[in-house]
């Protein structure tokens, strides 16, 4: 898990605002997945990026969008924030070498919406 970096580590936003979270994957990894982890719950898959395209999406509204850059880093954007968006947002990087490759997680961004 060393090598996946996320920024910022903590963030407080107001309802209705927009937020951008950033992730740099582990060196050599080309696939980035984003997860939302509410308190006391397991991580929930938001979406995955590979070759700068969204490859798969979980059950999250269109307010959640993302981007992957040529250097494989990624951003997660959330518009029109709701109180329920408060959670730990985790970025995981992996290699696109087939199904089920282990994921390396960053330390996460703790988002609080007030």
């Amino acid at each position: 898990d060393a090598g996946v970096t996320q920024s910022p580590t903590h963030l407080i936003k107001t309802r209705g605002q927009q937020v951008t979270l950033r992730c740099s994957p582990k060196s050599g990894h080309d696939t980035v997945s984003w997860y939302q982890q509410a308190l006391g719950q397991g991580p929930q898959f938001i979406f995955q990026y590979y070759e700068e395209e969204e490859r798969q999406r979980g059950n999250f509204p269109d307010r959640f969008s993302g981007h992957q850059f040529p250097n494989y880093s990624s951003e997660l954007n959330v518009n029109a924030l709701l109180l329920g968006d408060s959670a730990l947002y985790l970025c995981a990087s992996s290699l696109n070498l087939g199904q089920g490759r282990k994921a390396f997680f960053g330390q996460g961004t703790r988002l609080t919406v007030v």
Binding site: D1, G42, Q48, A92, S94, N96, Q99, F104, Q107
Partner: protein, 110 residues
Amino acid sequence: GQQVMQIPQYQHVQEGEDFTTYCNSSTTLSNIQWYKQRPGGHPVFLIQLVKSGEVKKQKRLTFQFGEAKKNSSLHITATQTTDVGTYFCAGPGATNKLIFGTGTLLAVQP
């Protein structure tokens, strides 16, 4: 959709006691992964099991993948305070998407 459940949700043990968490998937899995998340931390990869009936050991931790590849277990022998955290199993969906289990929070009393 695919669901992965874990039991128990919470376990409190005395240091030195054993601990087991069970993971059940609604669908057959190509592999199962286990992660540990310390309080306030992020999930850290522990192990991956691929073969039906596979058993792997890491010191005091024993991981097992069921014959039908729909269930798995993690057993910790003689727990220590450093074992505290939430243990998640995770199964792959399409591509590298991971479906995480509900997690088991382990508390160890010294």
